[in-house]
Subunit: 329 residues, 2 copies
């Protein structure tokens, strides 16, 4: 357990370092702690022994370690009240009744990214939770129909399908009817499997080119289940930070943003707001991620904010708190 003064010291160092990005030395803190630099040095040394502080080189100031940030997040930081201006921008966004929720969220992310200088993103729920609610087809021309898949969680996606010459639109519609009759409620990622056993045998009897038609739907559904909704804002914001000023690291992170596996790596399982510092997240060791799951009438998703480990945790957490509350009502 840390003493009162050590708590205060750690907090100051974290907050100072977050602001300036340069190691903080003992002299600078004399005023704040009402003691000499020597005393502070002693305290710093013990804080370093506990593993909360680090030095970048033998005679540098101190920098918080990951454990240090962890301790800060768990015990030291207090919820910061949001400034009226930022809150106002967001508030008006969520109060706009004409906006569909997902659009409101997307737009709020732009604001969040701007005021936090982080990358923020929203992920739709993954396909294993999404169940089929309805399939619709709209004929486009003789060789093409548009299939629309709607899930119970409100996830929507469309896809053009090429229909071979031998197949009529009516036949396509019959298959869709069948799917709607038999497969509603099935988790999206099980659909392509179920197609084979539930649908394929049945269409064989009354659809001419059943084999080709089955293939079309099979392919379509395997793609549906792999994609998942996501929106990102402030993608290049991390370039602002000194810690990411070399191209290889930047590229590494930006590529991870584009990666398909990103969604699974970031998706939140917990309902409260959680902070994952450095190695605690399995996205990238050099960033911190703050995220939460939201649920609003059945529809669920993740909101995440990605930034440097040297991040204004207080601000971001309370901001996310605020957004979550607004979404869920």
């Amino acid at each position: 357990m840390l003493t009162e003064r050590q708590n205060k010291l750690l907090r100051i160092i974290v907050e100072e370092y977050v602001k300036t990005a340069s190691p903080v030395g003992s002299k600078a803190l004399c005023d704040e702690l009402n003691c000499s630099s020597a005393t502070i040095r002693n305290e710093m040394a013990t804080l370093e022994n506990v593993g909360f502080l680090e030095k970048t080189h033998t005679s540098s100031g101190r920098v918080p370690s990951e454990d240090g940030y962890r301790y800060y997040v768990n015990n030291l930081m207090k919820p910061k009240e949001m400034t009226g201006e930022d809150m106002l921008k967001l508030q008006t966004l969520f109060d706009n009744r004409e906006l569909v929720l997902s659009d409101a969220i997307n737009k709020s992310l732009e604001i969040v990214s701007e005021i936090t200088n982080c990358t923020s993103l929203v992920l739709g729920s993954s396909s294993s939770i999404n169940r089929l609610k309805q399939v619709e087809v709209v004929p486009f021309d003789n060789n093409k129909v548009i299939a629309i898949v709607i899930t119970d969680k409100g996830h929507i996606e469309h896809k053009e399908l090429n229909i071979e010459d031998g197949i009529s639109v009516d036949e396509v519609k019959k298959v869709v009817e069948l799917i709607n009759k038999l497969l509603v409620g099935t988790p999206l990622d099980e659909i392509s499997a179920k197609l084979e056993f539930e649908i394929k045998p049945r269409i064989a009897s009354y659809v001419k080119s059943h084999e080709a038609l089955y293939q079309v739907f099979y392919n379509a559904f395997s793609e549906f289940s792999n994609k998942s909704h996501m929106h990102m804002a402030g993608r290049t914001n991390l370039l602002n930070y000194k810690e990411f000023d070399n191209t290889s690291k930047i590229r590494e992170i930006l590529d991870k943003f584009d990666d398909d596996k990103m969604v699974q790596k970031i998706e939140a399982e917990e309902n409260d707001i959680n902070v994952y510092i450095g190695h605690e997240n399995n996205f990238d060791d050099d960033v911190s991620i703050i995220k939460t799951k939201y649920v609003v009438n059945g529809e669920e998703g993740t909101i995440a904010i990605v930034g440097p480990k040297r991040m204004d945790y207080e601000k971001v957490v309370s901001l996310l708190e605020f957004i979550k509350q607004n979404i869920e009502r």
Copy 2:
């Protein structure tokens, strides 16, 4: 007009510089041109006077100027035959009849980005050319319908619409019927205007909350016309190049990729393959863009490849040529 040797010299310098990214000096070229470095220096000097070469400092080797690249592209480069391996990858992609064209294009971009080390993108035709073909609505629940807009060029988009309590799904459908009767064929960006004069007065008579309903569609269509389809691959590829090794430049370019205006800036008007070097493109002075418009049964779009000015123009042009041909048949 340049002499034969000057042509050869310029070509060698361009190709060497493209490969190594460092200024090329006179000594290195003696073998290739069968003459002494002094002769080459003389030729270089005249090439510099014409404006085709530049020096990075007084005693450095030469680097092609933008005019130099221009001359190279216009007069010096020859179409390069593609290597069998790359061609094969792409060929099989386009030969896959189950793939919808747009999917095939998207996937081909991944390959293109990989073999060119550039960023490649495809843009759907802009909304001024797209005309409304059909609107469909699918009811989701009491307060939400999904509107699907299809254009004559094959562009599809869907959008959730919030319906206020007083409005029934039937009323929404009536409006859609009306739109389909009266507005089909209208360019997408004129629709919201036409809504006001063609539709608004008519629904007033037989739809209860016509004002609110009108608003919903008005908003929806103004968003439709602003968005346009686009797909990008190799977004971070430019980070490979020395010329983009400072964060501010990188950020500048990456932000331009995310910018809404990007689509208009890059969209091609011409049907052949064109090269825009540096300031010739109005996207960014430090890159070159090679692009072409494609048209395939009415549907049209742009394919563009963005890279450093020091780009393998021969390779990229012939690659784009190849892709365009495959798309258009």
